[in-house]
Symmetry: C4
Subunit: 227 residues, 4 copies
Amino acid sequence: MTLTVTADVRETVAGLRRDVARLHGELTRYALVVWTAGNVSARVPGHDLMVIKPSGVSYDDLTPENMVVCDLHGRVVEGEHAPSSDTDAQAYVYREMPHVGGVVHTHSTYATAWASRGEPIPCVLTMMADEFGGAVPVGPFALIGDDSIGRGIVETLRVSRSPAVLMRNHGVFTVGRDARAAVKAAVMCEDVARTVHIARQLGEPLAIGQSDVDSLFDRYQNVYGQR
Amino acid sequence: MTLTVTADVRETVAGLRRDVARLHGELTRYALVVWTAGNVSARVPGHDLMVIKPSGVSYDDLTPENMVVCDLHGRVVEGEHAPSSDTDAQAYVYREMPHVGGVVHTHSTYATAWASRGEPIPCVLTMMADEFGGAVPVGPFALIGDDSIGRGIVETLRVSRSPAVLMRNHGVFTVGRDARAAVKAAVMCEDVARTVHIARQLGEPLAIGQSDVDSLFDRYQNVYGQR
Amino acid sequence: MTLTVTADVRETVAGLRRDVARLHGELTRYALVVWTAGNVSARVPGHDLMVIKPSGVSYDDLTPENMVVCDLHGRVVEGEHAPSSDTDAQAYVYREMPHVGGVVHTHSTYATAWASRGEPIPCVLTMMADEFGGAVPVGPFALIGDDSIGRGIVETLRVSRSPAVLMRNHGVFTVGRDARAAVKAAVMCEDVARTVHIARQLGEPLAIGQSDVDSLFDRYQNVYGQR
Amino acid sequence: MTLTVTADVRETVAGLRRDVARLHGELTRYALVVWTAGNVSARVPGHDLMVIKPSGVSYDDLTPENMVVCDLHGRVVEGEHAPSSDTDAQAYVYREMPHVGGVVHTHSTYATAWASRGEPIPCVLTMMADEFGGAVPVGPFALIGDDSIGRGIVETLRVSRSPAVLMRNHGVFTVGRDARAAVKAAVMCEDVARTVHIARQLGEPLAIGQSDVDSLFDRYQNVYGQR
């Protein structure tokens, strides 16, 4: 049985095609990606479907029309192009984490530098406490081609408050309630990876107490922004 | 008693809404901010009012109309949006420092790196002597939610010639006679934070004598620019 | 005997003039070059001709018309301008490596930093395994003016899977099946040079096993992108 | 006796106003300056006059009309604005170095970092040998307000082949046969300052032999670019 984009979900998918295509502009704006190496996807809420970037297509050339709709095993349901080579990993995340509505993958420089040493980013900034609720954790080394990457992401995020995971020797995956939240987490992850890296170049950053981290995280998740 | 924007101040407020909205463009131009993490405010001269960025709204979407007018205890006087979560801290600064007409808050990378180590930026550049009159000082660790941040800013700036303070583990607050001057201080603070950081990566910068610092500061504050 | 652009190849050359002129925009987009210090060339398939940037002309001023057509000994066949001073080196590469259709030269910052220490970039990122199949190797120090640079490039690339070579104390040369592929290699080379540099600033990156490198390289070369 | 812009030089001055205004765009393009902290000037050939940026005016607001014409003692000859606070230093250079047709001043990050340690940039890149003919030298610490800065620049450049000098704890001054050449030297100086800094973060760059430096410098000064 192949899933299809049925009439009732057509409008939702059209909106997600626009969102996902456009959100890649944030990856280039913040220089989280070069060439074609990074992507955004969104779950189609209430359906076993996701919308994702086509593989190897330049960011300049992304349009709502060339986004690819896949089922949650990575099979193409609608689209002229092959989907991102990260589709299987992201589909795994959607299958296993029902509250996740968006996934982003980048090789952003500073986060990937931490990942290549297999070292979590310590929580030494109030902005990290706000957004990540603690350290940004490291997931295992995993080869592309089966469920290894997806499993590594899910197992690492399940025991953390962080929406970002540094996959060893590879790069960053972030999740969010929707694609925009996952993109925000990718932007913030690189920002704190860079700031903490630079801080540590000339000494040791001061620690933030666990109760202060908790208090900042709770407030930010519940109070910040427009109601 | 609630303050309101009375007829006599309407035009001034309209101008400040334009200035404050537009000055955020300098924060993005110099990459002092990512996503929505930083803001500019301006005092309404002669009134217990301030104009500030709405909370969690993208820089691309800022307009004179969606700026928020608050009183100097952070209560919204005019505006459809919730004000920046830094409103209380900035209101405290306006209450306690009557010569301050503008306040800026960022988490700019290099300045925040110094802040996370709790280390002042030493004055080893003539440009720092010009603008800051000495080292850029560090304020205390403070949680959001009461007057702690505002008090930390004011207590630190009162015993310094610097218009910038590095709040520990957090980021930068700058002040100026108006919003533009505070934005300039934020731009210069990140610039000197970066240059001195890079200088120290490969050795120790040479000191500038105190009398030379004083002479540069006096001249720059009194002679530079157009009369 | 002088080679000329004969009628049958006129259209191909016109297309390559457009491609080569436009691809320089990727060098400036990713800040791989400053002023006029870097260039792209393309082989004219099936002819002993190449299309290359004119020497010392600003990137803003490049047009299809001012590109220069040379033979594979660097002699101008068509064009009003003197060709890039790297023409001889690139012509040598086209003569000796028949599968190469494009060559790029830059002094991009991080790659050139590795080159100035004469140190290969170790393969500690999955993205490096994908694109370079191992370390990015270092070629010899060579002066401009004879075949030394071209020979150094060819001798180094022949014993490596990498499409990029770091020429000692100089900069980067990359090759590809066409000019676009060589530009991609130049972009990726600087990206991995930067990430691995930053990783090593705070410790030692974890190694990737040789069989994993092989597996990633094989898959990327054969499966990635659109069919 | 006050110099004036006489009729025979009016057209030349109009052209230089356009050139100098526009060349500031290269300083912002390559991020050599922030806010208003850097400037370009040009000698009016055959006259004791120079064209320079007005003091404290934003780069966005520079036009041919608001450039300032001064004599070579820094007195305003034509213009509505006060000239750059670096006018005296640059006027001194024009008086003492008759072959210089353009001067640029910046506080570009990496060059200023070397300057703050009082350390010359060693010549370990072929691009440095090309453009600078050796190390980029350091000039003395000097306060603004008399001839000290100008004298420091001239004394340092006179004993070097470099068109750039790092003024201690301050920033960079570059010279050229015209304003464009001085801007090029400023761009290249920051580029090599950055690359050599980054190279040295992880080890010691390999030396280039003096005869190779000489050979590269001679060729570049005499052969490179369009005839």
